[in-house]
């Protein structure tokens, strides 16, 4: 039976997971700043990363309010250990080449757009409000990366081969998006939150249409890796967190 405090806890965890997804992907994307060959793409990437960092701040502040113990956005970002982060593993993977980065973001944004759309009508006003704001940004991101995927898929033999491989490499991380736990169930049942089974169907249809346009084959659903919701990460996560938290850990308690 779900009690009132279970629901409270689920909302808090859910807000934190949204913040973790946004922060971890944003952190990966800012590694690419000043490394783009074309200025237009440099600007687009900075824009997208800035949106994710902004969303992380909002979700963390919301989590801080739900928790009610005075923790701030920075406490969540900088003072938790990597095992306390509950982002999707897909998002913490190294950027790889441009095609890998694009495929990772297409796969995630296709999910995130649907997740945010569902969250707009969730009964947690704080989360719903942030979702309504974030969705405009993420729709733009998805359009941007989808156009790139089409160019790369339907470009040269080399680009086609490269992104096909990116898809095969990253596909096994997509299952985790839809394999919810009690938190997801609770948010769906008690707060009119996202229904992951429905999202999965839509995601499958949308991604399949996009891949078709990009002349790419949709990989078979095989074995799927997961662990993000339990804080069990890839080997890459520790380094990401070490860089992220470097200053705060080197100078504990300082204000910046």
């Amino acid at each position: 039976m779900t009690t009132h405090s279970d629901v409270e806890q689920a909302r808090l965890t859910y807000a934190l997971r949204l913040g973790d997804n946004a922060l971890v992907l944003g952190q990966r994307l800012i590694e690419l700043v000043a490394h783009h060959p074309e200025l237009e793409e440099e600007l687009a990437n900075a824009n997208i990363s800035l949106d994710f960092i902004g969303q992380a701040r909002l979700f963390y502040s919301c989590a801080g309010e739900l928790e009610g113990r005075g923790r701030t956005e920075d406490d969540f970002a900088f003072l938790r250990d990597d095992g306390e982060f509950q982002n999707l593993l897909l998002l913490e993977l190294p950027n790889g080449h441009f095609g890998d980065t694009i495929v990772r973001q297409v796969l995630f944004d296709s999910f995130y757009v649907l997740q945010l759309e569902a969250l707009v009508s969730c009964t947690d006003a704080g989360i719903a409000e942030i979702a309504a704001r974030a969705i405009k940004e993420v729709r733009y991101h998805l359009r941007h990366v989808s156009q790139w995927l089409i160019r790369l898929g339907d470009g040269t033999d080399e680009s086609h081969a490269r992104v096909s491989q990116s898809l095969l490499d990253l596909w096994r991380y997509t299952g985790e998006m839809f394999s919810g736990d009690l938190v997801d169930d609770c948010l769906r049942d008690a707060c009119n939150g996202p229904d992951l089974a429905r999202i999965q169907e839509q995601w499958h249809d949308n991604v399949s249409a996009l891949l078709k346009e990009a002349t790419l084959d949709m990989p078979e659903d095989g074995w799927m890796i997961s662990g993000g919701r339990q804080g069990v990460h890839t080997e890459h996560m520790g380094f990401l967190i070490a860089q992220l938290q470097h200053e705060q850990r080197a100078c504990p308690g300082a204000s910046w």
Partner: protein, 330 residues
């Protein structure tokens, strides 16, 4: 800014025989003297065009290379707010590069060509960006001092005789002064922090003060081409005058922060109302300009790597565009 002292190669007005008559040159100078704006399609002496292409493209390259030292702290910014502010700043710099390249393109040189010149080591960028950012305080020092020096240089450029450059500078200056305030605010927070943070702030100005003074270029007597740029109203103040203005504005800010500029000779002169300061190490300036600064190779290698990594992507995009064009034609 980001250009003064870099234009060492001859920019003497060399006439193209038979193409530029005395009457044309006199009429052009009369327009300049009357404070008219020269637009891209107007007649202009070849040397004026060349001087501007070099200056604007160097300025653009500086904006782009300047993203690297600051980008170095993006993943480690100490708070999410600071991270977002720094990211927005670096994004602004990319935007500045974009409008400056566009302004230079109005003079008949393509962005591709300018970028190729940078990658081939033929074009220069401001030497300040060849210094490393070693601590978070360097991000504060860059915003405060480097963007501060940039503003000093760029405000007069808003009145530059070449219209597209002047208009680009108006927009750029607004953002630069925002950057400068944010940099100063980082420093202010650090000096009000713990002992380690204060030491970090002092160490940053120890390393950035002199290079930021070098941003104004060589002393006037060693800057032989300035006179022509002044006559053309590309440049409005001499290197030394701008440097002095910057020092006079910045030293009191350092005092307010409780930080000491690394110059024992720095002293306010009651009579002139200006600060006197020590000798700049011009050997270091020319060394860094010649490629021998701490990060010259690293900065160029990063750009070259980015260009090489992007080759397959550019090719894919252009092949896709051709396919699309063919499909639309069919």
């Amino acid at each position: 800014m980001y250009t003064q002292g870099l234009d060492q190669a001859g920019s003497k007005p060399r006439r193209r025989d038979g193409l530029e008559t005395d009457a044309q040159l006199a009429a052009f100078q009369a327009r300049i003297d009357a404070d008219e704006k020269i637009e891209a399609k107007d007649w202009m002496p070849e040397a004026y065009r060349r001087t501007l292409v070099r200056q604007i493209s160097q300025h653009a390259h500086s904006e782009i290379i300047g993203m690297q030292p600051e980008g170095n702290w993006l993943t480690r910014a100490p708070t999410l707010r600071r991270k977002a502010i720094l990211l927005a700043k670096v994004q602004d710099e990319a935007g500045h590069g974009l409008y400056l390249y566009s302004a230079a393109e109005t003079l008949g040189v393509s962005r591709d060509q300018m970028v190729r010149d940078l990658l081939d080591g033929k074009a220069k960028y401001s030497s300040i960006f060849n210094y490393p950012t070693l601590t978070w305080a360097d991000i504060g020092a860059i915003g405060w001092l480097v963007d501060g020096a940039a503003i000093m240089n760029q405000i007069p450029l808003c009145r530059c005789s070449f219209g597209p450059y002047a208009r680009a500078m108006v927009r750029v200056c607004k953002e630069e002064s925002f950057h400068q305030r944010q940099g100063y605010e980082i420093m202010l927070t650090l000096v009000r922090g713990n002992a380690k943070q204060k030491a970090m702030a002092q160490d940053a100005i120890n390393r950035w003060w002199w290079p930021s003074l070098m941003m104004f270029g060589p002393n006037d007597e060693d800057s032989p081409h300035s006179a022509q740029s002044m006559k053309w109203k590309i440049k409005r103040f001499s290197n030394d005058a701008l440097r002095q203005k910057f020092i006079d504005a910045t030293v009191p800010q350092a005092e307010f922060l409780g930080l000491k500029m690394p110059d024992d000779k720095l002293e306010f002169d009651e009579q002139t109302g200006h600060y006197r300061f020590g000798e700049i190490n011009w050997q270091e300036f020319y060394d860094v300009l010649a490629g021998n600064g701490p990060c010259n190779r690293q900065r160029m290698a990063t750009r070259q790597q980015a260009q090489a990594d992007g080759a397959w992507v550019r090719e894919a995009a252009s092949v896709y565009a051709e396919k699309q064009a063919a499909r639309n034609a069919a």
